[in-house]
Symmetry: C2
Subunit: 204 residues, 2 copies
Amino acid sequence: MAQGRPPVTAGDSKTTRQRRNQPLVAVHTGAGKGKSTAAFGLALRGWNQGWSIGVFQFVKSAKWRIGEQSALEALNDVHRGTGQGGPIEWHKMGSGWSWSRKAGTEEDHARDAVEGWAEIKRRLADQTHTLYILDEFTYVMKWGWVDVDDVVETLRSRPGYQHVVITGRDADPRLLEIADLATEMTKLAHPFDRGQKGQKGIEW
Amino acid sequence: MAQGRPPVTAGDSKTTRQRRNQPLVAVHTGAGKGKSTAAFGLALRGWNQGWSIGVFQFVKSAKWRIGEQSALEALNDVHRGTGQGGPIEWHKMGSGWSWSRKAGTEEDHARDAVEGWAEIKRRLADQTHTLYILDEFTYVMKWGWVDVDDVVETLRSRPGYQHVVITGRDADPRLLEIADLATEMTKLAHPFDRGQKGQKGIEW
């Protein structure tokens, strides 16, 4: 794609710089692949800008997607060692959040999800990160574990310059309504349809 | 998504391991965002598996998408320094391919594209990489700079265990036909529609 030239002229009185520096809510939804992968790809850009990045994985399995986690943690190490790029924190719900240090249990995902969202709200209020990746967070909303209106209001009113990317199928219309950027990934062909199983490097 | 459980049982006599280790052709197409970003996200998984990765950017601007390039080159440095992960090469067409070392010109993109594809064919024959990312390669096919049937036949007959990911809008039906995995990214909402310009960290 050619470098961004907007087809519409904004009707407000903002300068180009102000418009450029608008913090975004992005949603990657749909049944196709690439939702999370594209979010983690965005982390590469943010890292290169020196942004503080927080990844919050709202999934059950602690071993899932270890590939991206290892790679982004390696980039965090590069930042700590050389100053290049920015810091990346990776938190996952799998066996209790890393900040809570409690013994993990696969029993109460709803409670863990609520705790994760409360932590993200605190960080948004504190402007802890420049980029938040809330991976598979749509399910947490869909299942009613967190309140969609609370999410929408929190995102709408978040202070400063903080981008938030949310991934997962079946994004709530209220979330899509406030998204600055929403992409639907649709499956055209998938090896699972041919009896192909998931494989390392591709699926995780 | 739950860890891969195929909805269809393969009718062939391959073992699970053989099926798992099937090299894939993946296509990210459609007018929405995330096509290239998801491809670079896949590179994180491949890097973590220790794969050799070759990125070939078929775009004009040499400064475009510097974010992912810097981050993946940092991961390549991590590999060279510590042995973690795998090697990543990043080649772009912008001002002549890096291997040709000729003075760059923005004049003859068609010739550069042909040269890039010839190099990729050599590498596929030599089994140089495990993962190839041919970024925005669909345009090169669409514009007739490389022959679609040649691409399809080369991919079909490539030896060994080599994954190829191709990104860009308007993927040719013949390419989609042989794709093991094809995803269409569709725009649901985009800040450009509101007069928002591209911004660092998000667009590049």
